[in-house]
Symmetry: C2
Subunit: 155 residues, 2 copies
């Protein structure tokens, strides 16, 4: 844990917000005491709803390190990650996460990550966005083929 890296995440959250890139959130990915990826919210400036600070920092670090796994990296985020970013952290297999503001702090200024956390924990039938299953049998062909495939990169 090194507060210097959190200060950089906070600096990004401020500077990029002031330049109208998006919401007030910054993040950095750190490997062996060095920043290997920087990210900040760019949702509204790039028309990408997935361009949160943490996702952007992870994408940046993966590009730089030429890998889809960040096992030996830490993430410093100016705010507690939303469910999308937290799941991305699990997929990227980051070692640990440091965060500044909490999701409650974010909710108070209009970013309702907490609602999405609650929705994800609900059974499909009780979610706000309706979800329906369709053509399961046809869809399963790809899964069966993947399982049998020998030349594949698992993750």
């Amino acid at each position: 844990m090194n507060p210097t890296f959190m200060r950089e995440a906070i600096r990004l959250s401020l500077v990029k917000m002031r330049r109208h890139h998006g919401g007030p959130f910054g993040a950095v990915v750190v490997r062996q005491g060095k920043i290997v990826g920087r990210g900040w919210n760019q949702v509204t400036s790039t028309n990408d709803p997935t361009a949160h600070a943490e996702v952007s920092a992870i994408r940046s670090a993966c590009r730089r390190l030429k890998t889809f796994r960040l096992d030996d990296c830490e993430l410093y985020a100016s705010c507690e990650p939303c469910p999308m970013c937290l799941a991305a952290i699990y997929w990227a297999r980051l070692r640990c996460v440091f965060y500044g503001n909490t999701r409650k702090d974010a909710a108070r200024i209009g970013f309702d990550d907490d609602l999405i956390y609650r929705e994800l924990a609900r059974p499909i039938s009780r979610r706000k966005i309706p979800m329906k299953q369709l053509l399961r049998k046809a869809a399963s062909v790809a899964l069966v083929e993947w399982k049998a495939k020998t030349a594949k990169v698992s993750y």
Copy 2:
């Protein structure tokens, strides 16, 4: 609901897997009866752990429609979305979701979305990836400034 769009999502899941782009998953975003975004898993081929089919389809549709909101769009995914993709669906505000395979089907071929669903529902202190709060006061400055900011695009 139109099975034709699900068939296209399934087609992508098969074709792109066979071309070694990544896991066996495809998705399309549909607006007013037309496909406006296509996506497929490209995690291992592009070194981007966030390049799942649904995230890729959402990004593609947003680029094309020049918006970060897909309120009037539907998503067809060959498999039930993982928590990262589902949260992205909420952020993009898609109207509804159709899916083929379930998360249990995906788990059986080695994609453990279900583990991440369970982790997200846990309190921070009980998660596998350690998370610690740091410099909250310094981090809060950006949130206060955002709240007071008048020239901003909310989402």
